[in-house]
Symmetry: C2
Subunit: 174 residues, 2 copies
C-alpha cells in the first residue's frame, strides 16, 4: 500500500512551536480555547502578522520536535508499505529546504525522492493520506485518516488516528 | 483534464543556462555531442562538482529564461484544463523557493496551490504529464508526453512534443 503522510502537526510538532511564538508575543490560549479552532483565527492582526513573518522565513520548520511516537511508527510502516511525505509548503515556499533537512535528520530512512511539497493534495496519488486537515480528503483519491489535533476536534472523520502507536493497527484495518 | 507539467527543460531553459555554467569552466560541447546524452555524464569530476555546487545553492533556478512559447501555451491550456506544475526538486531542495519565485514571475496565472516539488513523479495524480525525462512515465498513472530536448533525442515516446505551439493540438488528440 502507498501511504502519504503530512508533516505539520502529524510528524512535526508545529502546534507547540507556534504556540510558543504566540506566547512570546503575549498571546496565550489554553487547550479549551483551541479546541476546533486555529491560533491564527484567534489572534489579532498585528500578532498574527508577526508570527506569519517568522513562518515565512522558513527556518522555524527545521527546529520542530518530532511528534510523540512518529519516528518509530513511520519506520515500522515503511517495512511493509511505500511511504511518501506530502506536506503543504506553498504558503511558505522558503520552508521547503528546512522541511527537507528536518526529514533527513529525523527520518533518514525516508527516500528523498518520496518527499512531496505541494498545495492542493488532490495531486497526491496514494492509497492512504494521514493528515490533520480533513479538507485535504475531499478531492483525494484514496482513504483519508485524520490525525487528531486540537484544531480538528469535533471534525467528522471516518478514520481518525489519535496517536502514532495506533497507526499500524488502523492501517491494517482499512 | 488535469495536466501536470515539468519545469526544467520544459518551461524553463535549464539547458542553455547549464551549458553556460560548463562553458564558463572551459567545458563546451556542440549539439551533436549532446544528442541523447547529459552534460553531467560527459564532464570530468572536478567540473561537474563545481557546476553541481552552483545548482545546489538554488538561486540558479530563479534566473532561467522561459522556454520559447511556453508561457503563452500554458496560459492557453489553462483556459480549458486544470494545470499543475510538477518539478523534481529533491536533488536540490534549496531550489524550491527559487522555482516558486520563477513561477510567480513568469506564470502568475498558475495557482500556487497547484505547484508540486517532488522526486518520484509516480506520486502525481494527473491525466497527462509533460516531461523531458521519459523515466518519469514508467510508473505514472496517466499519459506521458515527452517534451523534446537534446538529451532525449532517440528515446522512444508514444507522444512527443517538439515545441510549445503544438501543445494544444497534441493534448486535444489524446
Amino acid at each position: 500500500m502507498r501511504i502519504a503522510i503530512d508533516m505539520d502537526e502529524v510528524l512535526a510538532d508545529t502546534h507547540v512551536a507556534k504556540r510558543a511564538l504566540y506566547a512570546a508575543r503575549g498571546r496565550e490560549w489554553d487547550d479549551t480555547a483551541l479546541r476546533g479552532r486555529k491560533m491564527d483565527a484567534l489572534a489579532d492582526d498585528v500578532t498574527r502578522a508577526a508570527v506569519e513573518a517568522v513562518l515565512k522565513d522558513g527556518t522555524f520548520f527545521a527546529g520542530l520536535e518530532p511528534m510523540e511516537g512518529a519516528i518509530a511508527a513511520v519506520r515500522d510502516l515503511a517495512t511493509e508499505h511505500e511511504i511518501f511525505i506530502a506536506t503543504a509548503a506553498m504558503e511558505y515556499p522558503a520552508s521547503c529546504p528546512h522541511k527537507f533537512a528536518w526529514l533527513q535528520r529525523h527520518m533518514p530512512f525516508i527516500d528523498p525522492l518520496n518527499i512531496v511539497f505541494c498545495g492542493d493534495k488532490s495531486i497526491v496519488a496514494a492509497d492512504v493520506l494521514i493528515d490533520d486537515n480533513a479538507r485535504h480528503f475531499e478531492r483525494f483519491g484514496g482513504t483519508g485518516i485524520l490525525f487528531s489535533a486540537l484544531h480538528n476536534m469535533g471534525a467528522e472523520a471516518p478514520h481518525r488516528l489519535d496517536r502514532w502507536t495506533d497507526a499500524a493497527a488502523l492501517v491494517r484495518s482499512l
